[in-house]
């Protein structure tokens, strides 16, 4: 068979967001692929320099539709580090709770999409139904299903009363049994195993060379998790269990993400239990003193890197955001070079692409 190149173009059932890929195949074997980003590039770093710190929270939140809260949390911690203030512990715990809830619904969303790509629509419907429960908590608590606008500089914008606590605990218990079920399906479902076991394995030194972070790295045995290595305030008091797997194939990535959902569920329960009393926000000035800061946090897809410099005015002088998907994307063309056509969806889903994050 001669060499054909399939365009997995900006519009394709495989891609939820526009990313242009040219994959050249011969017969069923994939030879390689090239990548083109920039379809959702909004120049957020440039925009951030023309808006005040307060307005930037809502701009930063729109970098990514799925992990918006972790962006605003990292940004607010960066600004608070420049201000040299410490937010009240209750606000730290509420931020951590929202981060963990966001990790759960991001992983559930990803699992549904992977199941849909290998033909298991039932699992897609069931996981997205469970995800609705998490989104209901967030909508009830913060007022927005996806863009929660939960953070402000100096703390959080809402407080959890007893009735919220009860509702969250009830849903978490129900979620626990669902996640158990999902894990069993992935470990035992013969067809799902057949489609993901041993597909596109990544070796640990390939991970290190390409600087891949997050569940993809942990699935190949590289033990890095910013919640434990560079813990932001509440995580130093919380014990985070890092899940790693050694053979790094599509199934290992699935295993790591589902186990992480369970760890996040336990974390949510401990956070709710140990939530300290006290107010949720500290008043902060509008002008931020001059200085530079680097903050790293653990987004659902890996290490999120923020560099913020202020020149004393109420607008940031420079804001650099490096999202985890950008690191994982450089490995994609390499991954594509030794699989066959039917595995492209599994590999693409394995990277858990968030193109809006990568393009900024």
């Amino acid at each position: 068979m001669d060499k054909i190149s399939i365009p997995i173009g900006p519009q394709h059932p495989l891609l939820k967001e526009p990313l242009s890929m040219m994959v050249d195949i011969s017969g069923e074997k994939v030879l390689g692929g090239s990548l083109r980003l920039g379809y959702v590039h909004r120049g957020i770093e440039r925009l951030a320099q023309q808006r005040t710190y307060v307005q930037n929270i809502h701009l930063i939140e729109r970098i990514c539709g799925i992990c918006s809260h972790v962006h605003t949390t990292t940004y607010c911690y960066a600004v608070e580090a420049l201000l040299g203030i410490e937010i009240p512990p209750r606000a730290q715990y509420i931020r951590a709770l929202m981060c963990e809830l966001e990790r759960i619904h991001s992983h559930l969303l990803w699992l549904g999409i992977l199941a849909k790509h290998i033909g298991l629509d039932t699992i897609f419907m069931h996981t997205w139904h469970d995800r609705e429960m998490v989104l209901d908590i967030m909508e009830e608590v913060s007022g927005g299903r996806v863009s929660h606008a939960a953070n402000q500089i100096g703390g959080v914008r809402f407080d959890l009363d007893a009735e919220h606590d009860k509702m969250i605990r009830k849903i978490l218990i129900k979620l626990h049994s669902q996640v158990e079920g999902l894990l069993d399906v992935i470990e035992t479902e013969p067809a799902a195993m057949a489609r993901t076991k041993g597909v596109a394995p990544i070796s640990p030194d390939l991970i290190k060379a390409y600087g891949v972070v997050g569940p993809v790295a942990r699935a190949s045995g590289v033990d890095v998790d910013m919640r434990r290595d560079a813990p932001l305030p509440p995580y130093d008091q919380l014990e985070v269990k890092v899940i790693t797997h050694k053979d790094g194939d599509a199934w290992a990535r699935t295993f790591v993400r589902v186990e992480e959902t369970r760890v996040s569920l336990n974390l949510c329960e401990t956070i709710i239990r140990e939530m300290p009393r006290g107010d949720v926000v500290v008043r902060t000035p509008r002008r931020i003193p001059a200085g530079e800061v680097i903050i790293r946090s653990e987004a659902p897809r890996g290490e999120l890197f923020y560099y913020l410099r202020s020149d004393g005015s109420d607008k940031p002088a420079r804001l650099k955001v490096r999202t985890p998907t950008l690191a994982a994307l450089s490995l994609l063309p390499v991954q594509l070079s030794e699989i066959n056509v039917a595995d492209i969806p599994v590999v693409l889903a394995g990277v858990d692409l968030c193109i809006a994050c990568a393009d900024r």
Binding site: I4, I118, G119, D121, H126, A191, D343
Partner: protein, 308 residues
């Protein structure tokens, strides 16, 4: 003359088959939805889809052969309808002759070939890939299906479906003698209908729409109709070959039992599509040759021994 015209156009013919095709699609989507905790579409949804498709604009790629593109769905529709004529429905068979089982099987395979040709002539990358895959898959499920279907023929001693049904009246339903053959026939039917474990030719995530990516409007409407009627005819065939004893007693009871059997089979079909993930083409070929064919041969050997 009028009676055979009535048979041709209304009862086991065009109207009845189209109607039962639509009902099948609705039931299938409803069961699948209920498996996935969804409400599912209203009863008129398949009809609405059909009408919408027929009113839509009918586009084709520039240098695609328009005549062939229109003929292919019509040829497969007519072949599936004629297959439907010969399949006894609740024991009532207006046209039946020695060897109509072979005619039905042949007419049921014509759409698969037409599907491949549709992929080739629409010249799109995805449709050529989809067409190629449908041929690859064709051999994996067709041979076990043929061997499984010939089981009841051997046991019944004839190639005419109605006489097989009569012999089942004497000996009892054939499913008792060859349950394995029934399972293989179900798997073969799923493969023929390109349903979930075997929907590699039209896997949206890999080849977008398969051969039908470039089709739209009335042609696509015909293709969907072909898929539905093929399913209905397949189900009727399996019921007649394996649960054939409905030919006895008063007609009302046999019709009710026939409908129940249909429901059970539809439930099985949508159940398997809810539970199984799509296989890769090499895994499917492996499954076909390493597991399905030996099993079918084993079943046939057993049937021949028992028949003699």
């Amino acid at each position: 003359m009028i009676r055979s015209l009535f048979n041709l156009l209304v009862f086991p013919g065009f109207m009845f088959l189209v109607l039962s095709g639509l009902i099948f699609e609705w039931l299938d989507r409803k069961f699948l939805a209920r498996f996935q905790r969804r409400v599912g579409p209203p009863w008129y949804q398949p009809l609405a889809d059909l009408i919408k498709l027929f009113s839509k604009e009918d586009l084709l790629p520039k240098n695609a052969n328009d005549l062939l593109a229109t003929l292919l769905p019509l040829i497969s529709l007519s072949s599936v309808l004629t297959a439907g004529l010969y399949v006894p429905i609740a024991g009532y068979t207006p046209f039946s002759f020695e060897g109509d089982l072979i005619v039905i099987i042949f007419l049921m395979s014509v759409p698969t070939l037409a599907y491949y040709l549709a992929g080739i002539i629409s010249l799109g990358i995805y449709s050529i890939l989809g067409g190629g895959r449908s041929l690859l898959q064709f051999f994996a499920y067709e041979i076990p299906l043929l061997i499984a279907l010939s089981g009841p023929a051997i046991l019944g001693g004839s190639w005419s479906v109605s006489s097989i049904m009569e012999s089942q009246g004497r000996l009892g339903p054939f499913i008792i003698f060859q349950p394995l053959g029934f399972i293989l026939a179900i798997v073969g039917l799923i493969g023929k209908l390109k349903r979930d474990p075997f929907d590699i030719p039209k896997a949206t995530s890999e080849v977008v729409g398969g051969s039908l990516t470039e089709f739209s409007g009335a042609k696509l409407g015909f293709w969907n109709l072909v898929m539905d009627i093929q399913a209905v005819v397949g189900i009727f065939l399996l019921i007649d070959l394996y649960f054939g004893w409905t030919k006895m007693g008063y007609p009302i009871l046999s019709i009710v039992i026939f409908v129940i059997e249909c429901l059970i089979l539809i439930l099985i079909l949508s159940g398997t599509s809810a539970i199984f993930a799509r296989l890769r083409i090499d895994q499917l070929a492996g499954l076909g040759w390493r597991i399905l064919v030996p099993l079918a041969l084993l079943q046939i050997g057993f049937v021949i021994l028992m028949g003699v």
